[in-house]
């Protein structure tokens, strides 16, 4: 399990992206991440796990272990899978509070929001929102327990 903070991981990704000269390289990297994202078990690919607001289909599930949230997700589109892979790398393995407080500014810093068409960048925001919803849900569960 990760010991780095969310901010540290975000900074790492921004550093990695600064090495790329062109968007061709950035996309190749994201696509590669997408290809390497472990597939989600078929049982999780159901309507209730779909993230609304994405053009492609995205399934997202979360598990709560020892006070930390573990996310798993998949999509039928590879670039989206690559983006998911980065979101999971940043947020998975952290506490609900840490996740709720994350500003996720790395998405802007690597130029993703300005480069993706509005409709697709809305999909990215929808994924982050859904991940934070899970954090909120697990946090209230913990309080109620």
């Amino acid at each position: 399990m990760t010991t780095k903070t969310i901010q540290e991981i975000e900074a790492e990704i921004v550093d990695e992206f600064s090495l790329f000269d062109s968007w061709d390289d950035k996309y190749e990297y994201i696509i590669d991440l997408g290809k390497r994202l472990p597939p989600l078990d078929e049982v999780f690919k159901k309507e209730e796990n779909k993230v609304k607001g994405c053009q492609s289909t995205v399934w997202l599930v979360a598990d709560y272990q020892d006070g930390k949230i573990i996310y798993k997700a998949e999509s039928d589109a590879i670039i989206v899978k690559g983006l998911i892979s980065m979101l999971i790398r940043v947020l998975s393995g952290h506490t609900p509070d840490e996740i709720l407080n994350a500003d996720m500014d790395f998405i802007n810093k690597i130029g993703m929001t300005s480069h993706l068409a509005q409709t697709r960048s809305n999909g990215l925001r929808a994924m982050v929102k859904q991940m934070k919803h899970y954090a909120l849900a697990f946090k209230s569960l913990r309080f109620n327990a």
Binding site: W23, D24, Y27, E28, I31, Q55, S56, T57, D76, A77, I78, I79, V80, H115, L116, A117, R120
Partner: protein, 419 residues
Amino acid sequence: MSNETMIAATGENQVLDIEKIRNDFPVLQRMVKGHPLVYLDNAATSQKPAAVIDALVHYYTHLNANVHRGIHTLAEEATAAFEATRDVVRSFINAAQREEIIYTKGTTEGLNLVAYTWGRKHLREGDEVIISGMEHHSNIVPWQVVCEEKNAVLKVIPITDKGELDMEVFHQLLSERTKIVSVVHVSNALGTINPVKAIIDAAHAKGAVVLIDGAQSSMHLDIDVQDLDCDFFALSAHKMLGPTGAGILYGKSSLLEEMPVFLGGGEMIKEVTFEKTTYNELPYKFEAGTPNIADFVAFKPAIEYINKLGKEKIRAHEDALLSYATEKIKETEGVKIIGEAEQKASVLSFVIDGVHPQDIGILLDNKGIAVRTGHHCAEPLMSRFCIPGTIRASFAVYNTLAEIDLFAEALKKAIKILR
């Protein structure tokens, strides 16, 4: 592009100077993501020539006033410019009278207008409405609403594997219960040109009226509403080099006269008292409120631009682009073309084994190439082919064979990266 290929693209004796045409479209000069724009999303909306953009600026700079009402000079000049478009449209689609040309927001409003006025007045319980399996949502949803309200039945002409209407089934569906047939002339998702003349004749023989969705066809095919003998025909200015937010509903005057009004308000009335309102004459009866004056004024130079080039020459060039692109794409491994009708206009829709259309769309955009990916507002049609969506390249008169080469090359590279 060389002169040779340009001639090849337009056929003998029909040479359009494509480079000259391209210079008339300012947006085609811009760069996207560091590359010259290759605009292949013309079925979504066409680009606008400078004449149209200039007309918009000229209108607001010199003529702006509300139409039909004022007695001052500006109001008269604005009205004259606004009404001049009606005459040009009448002639463009060969309607018998200018009163049959109703200004709308676009094809969607035209289709809704017929469903909610003609449909509400004439449909009874058990009556049937026929649409096709390749309709845009705008020619499905209004009919579902009205059919539900009237307990009428919506029947759908099925699509063959090639992406054509199954005309045999259409003839079986058609009966004395059929009150209206509403079909698309050219499919936005497949490019199929439907045999609307045969549909109209068969429907009329059973006493049904016919509405044609001409959103895609009006730029590419000769439209003669009297020869077709269609009862209604809807089109959008923005798909034919004109501005957005302006469209036309043609209707036979005998039908329009007896139809109830659509929207109530200013302009559409003759006299208003709290007891009773009498309505204005055609076409104003259906044009409530201050219209989209500037965009209708600027629609005229768009039609004049098309007329100047000539539809036959436009069609010849677009056909050459489509067949060249089709051959190129077929060479690409794993590509399956969706829609292989004998008669097609300007649309190339396809899927690629194991690759999501959205990924292709993003990677092509990164090369400055604009295509459409998704279901093209025709979800039932996508279900028919068991696909969530397609990649669609659609061509216009200002596209070149060289652009198709760039598109095909970028597509191959994208597939290689994604696999």
